[in-house]
């Protein structure tokens, strides 16, 4: 499959993620949208690494892209655990998961 399809899919996913982050006020949905953006990036990384296969001249080419994906997934997992913990604490304190409500740091 040509690389353009992957790119189009990734851009679409990413855009959905961005728009979701911007317009949704529910913290959990925002969170999911962030995940969506991360995975769009992951998709791109894997796709690019597949289009540049290893050769005898460069035996490790393409590997680093896939390695990055693992890193991103690990970081995303960690982020999810911390982020969800924050949201749970938030809910306990404010009984709401509305992000617009969270402007206490102002001033």
């Amino acid at each position: 499959m040509p690389i353009q399809y992957y790119i189009a899919l990734a851009v679409t996913l990413f855009s959905i993620g961005v728009v979701g982050v911007l317009i949704r006020r529910n913290a959990i949905i925002v969170f999911m949208c962030i995940e969506l953006m991360l995975n769009a990036a992951n998709l791109l990384l894997v796709a690019f690494s597949k289009t540049h296969p290893a050769t005898s001249v460069a035996p490790l080419a393409g590997i680093d892209g896939q390695l990055f994906v693992f890193f991103v997934m690990v970081v995303a997992a960690a982020e999810v655990s911390v982020g969800l913990a924050i949201i749970v604490m938030l809910y306990r304190n404010t009984h709401s998961v509305d992000v617009d409500f969270l402007n206490r740091l102002k001033n």
Partner: protein
């Protein structure tokens, strides 16, 4: 000459003793120190005088005052005939004034009494430095020093703000003159690299100066002289200087300070002989001052004010003499003027003392019978200043007027006009004070008395001098080679070019006769008019009013110079400094604060807003750097 340093040293020591121990010393001790210092100086001056009479000029350097790369100015004294003459006048008349002061100031408390004598001694010290200095810088030290002392003495009664104002005016006016003097010194230094008279006043050195240099330098020096010697336009401080105690006026007006300008120009006569333009200016300013000040004196009633304007006017004559090249005549007039003007002031002081501080002659009259010594001596002084033969003023004034005629008859005519005024106002004030009936209060009349011995003896000595001093300068007309003063000063002025035009004897007789007759007529007129003066408190009108108000010069200066200057200062202070400069500085600060206040609004705390901003920025960046080459170039530029 080895003793020369003693002359200024004695008054300095007197100043230090009286100044530092004024709380401890008794009045007698203060008098002893103050007068003793002057007497000692006078004796040393006499020795020096005899020295130079036989031996000629001598210079002595003590240490390097300023020693820098471009020039070296030693702290040195020079005593020649001119200096010796001035030394005698300063210390001699100064001594008499000190003695007189001891009685005049007796009512002061003892520490103020000591302060007064300390100032007097400092004054004499400064004046001695001025005339003894072997270069212009030492002269300048004395020059500023007398300015300071006049400030201190005029403001001696410092409680009175009017007096303080007069003192400050004297100092500032003098400073304006000093500015000219100082710039002239820089000019000389830049051209010649020396300020020492003996090195400077040589034909070879003067050849280094261009004509423009000489004219500028002489004019600037003359500006200094107008300040110190109270000539138009800087004369207004001198009449105000009457605020000080009367003996101080005598010291300022007769023996010291105001003659400094004359001395300075006589000292640099060689320079001035090369500057015909400046000489013209000096002669014109001199004669203008002589007539102008005399006209003001015509309508003054305050006895000291009359004398003050007469000093200004007489100084004008001296400058007239300098301007027309009669240096000897000018110095001669300095000498005779020192005697009769000191006498007049001390006599006026004696009157004021007797009248309990009253200075307005309208409220005097008939003092003749109460104060015989003061009366006689004052009369002699009036005759001398009016120029009646054979009193001293006649000889010196005549010498100047003759020289003025030789230079330009117009100068002579104005000079004679001034002489007529002088005779008139002197006898007007004499008649109002001593003749007629007493017009003061009964209380004052009751206390009228002749002054103590310490005051009348100096008066008598000065009276003798005022009468006979003229005989040291008998013109060649009467007896050839009898002009002792001219012969004495000859070595100083020998380097001058010979006068081209000599008046014929006939002309001289005629000039002398005309002046004398007019003066006597003027005296008689004044005597007649004022010998039975009746109190007239009405304001004068017409020209009389203008004269009584001194031609409104003070008011004009105030309106044209003082007020605008204050306004300008206020403008700089309140508008330029506070609004403009500080405004710009604070404005910068305020701009930063304003901007930050506006930018702060962006930090709303809404997470969505931040994210939106982030996304928008990313989009903008992507659009801007869509072409990869741009991005690469940007990165390259960052890490270059």
């Amino acid at each position: 000459m080895n003793l020369a340093y003693l002359v200024p040293l004695f008054p300095l020591v007197g100043f230090l003793i009286n100044g530092l121990f004024r709380k401890q010393l008794s009045k007698q001790a203060v008098t002893l120190v103050g007068c003793g210092a002057l007497l000692a100086s006078f004796i040393v001056s006499l020795v020096l005088f005899c020295d130079v009479k036989t031996g000629g000029a001598a210079t002595r350097a003590y240490f390097d005052f300023i020693n820098v790369a471009d020039f070296k100015i030693p702290f040195a004294f020079q005593v020649d005939q001119l200096t010796a003459l001035f030394l005698l006048i300063i210390t001699g008349v100064g001594f008499l004034i000190h003695v007189y002061s001891s009685a005049y100031m007796h009512e002061e408390t003892s520490d103020h009494f000591a302060r007064y004598f300390a100032y007097l001694n400092l004054f004499v010290f400064s004046m001695l430095l001025l005339v003894m200095g072997a270069n212009f810088l030492i002269m300048f030290i004395g020059w500023e020093g007398v300015g300071l002392c006049s400030y201190l003495l005029i403001g001696y009664w410092f409680k009175n703000n009017q007096f303080n104002y007069a003192a400050r005016k004297a100092f500032v006016m003098n400073r304006i003159g000093d500015l000219g003097f100082l710039v002239a010194l820089f000019w000389i230094l830049a051209r010649a690299g020396t300020l020492t008279y003996s090195e400077l006043f040589t034909p070879a050195m003067l050849a280094k100066f261009s004509q423009a240099d000489i004219t500028a330098i002489t004019l600037l020096l003359f500006v200094g002289a107008t300040g110190k010697s109270a000539q138009i336009p800087l004369y207004t401080w001198l009449p105000d200087a009457m605020a000080g105690p009367t003996p101080v006026s005598a010291l300022i007006h007769a023996a010291t300070m105001v003659t400094a300008g004359i001395y300075m120009i006589a000292r640099s006569h060689l320079l001035y002989s090369l500057a015909p333009f400046t000489n013209q200016i000096i002669a014109i300013i001199g004669v203008a001052t002589a007539v102008f000040a005399a006209s003001i004196a015509l309508k003054q009633n305050d006895i000291k004010k009359v004398l003050a304007y007469s000093t200004v006017s007489q100084l004008g004559y001296m400058f007239l003499g300098l301007g027309v090249g009669a240096y000897g005549g000018a110095v001669f007039h300095v000498m005779t003027h020192a005697f009769f003007k000191a006498l007049l002031f001390l006599g006026a002081g004696s009157v004021i003392h007797a009248m309990g501080g009253q200075q307005d002659s309208r409220y005097m009259g008939g003092l003749k019978k109460y104060m015989p010594v003061t009366h006689i001596t004052f009369l002699l002084a009036c005759l001398a200043i009016a120029g009646v033969p054979p009193f001293s003023g006649f000889f010196s004034k005549d010498e100047i007027l003759a020289a003025a005629y030789a230079s330009s008859p117009v100068l002579y005519y104005f000079g004679v006009l001034g002489a007529l005024f002088t005779a008139f106002y002197m006898f007007r004030i004499y008649a109002m004070t001593f003749l007629g009936d007493f017009r003061g209060t009964h209380d004052q009349e009751h206390h009228l008395h002749e002054s103590p011995k310490a005051m009348t003896i100096p008066l008598s000595i000065l009276a003798v001098l005022a009468v006979v001093a003229g005989f040291v300068g008998i013109p060649a007309l009467f007896a050839p080679h009898a002009h002792l003063l001219e012969n004495f000063l000859a070595p100083v002025f020998s380097d001058l070019p010979e006068h081209a035009e000599h008046l014929s004897h006939g002309t001289e007789w005629m000039l002398m006769g005309v002046t004398t007759i007019l003066v006597i007529v003027s005296i008689v007129w004044a005597w007649k008019k004022f010998s039975s003066y009746q109190l007239d408190a009405s304001e004068p009108s017409g020209i009389g009013k203008v004269l009584a108000n001194k031609w409104y010069v003070d008011e004009i200066y105030d309106a044209v110079i003082a007020k605008p200057l204050l306004k300008f200062s206020g403008f700089l202070k309140n508008i330029i400094d506070k609004r403009v400069i500080d405004g710009i500085v604070n404005g910068t600060g305020r701009f930063v604060q304003y901007t930050s206040r506006q930018l702060r609004l962006v930090q709303s705390g809404q997470v969505g807003g931040y994210i939106l901003m982030m996304v928008l920025s990313l989009v903008v960046l992507f659009v801007a750097f869509w072409n990869q080459a741009y991005i690469l170039r940007f990165i390259h530029w960052i890490f270059k």
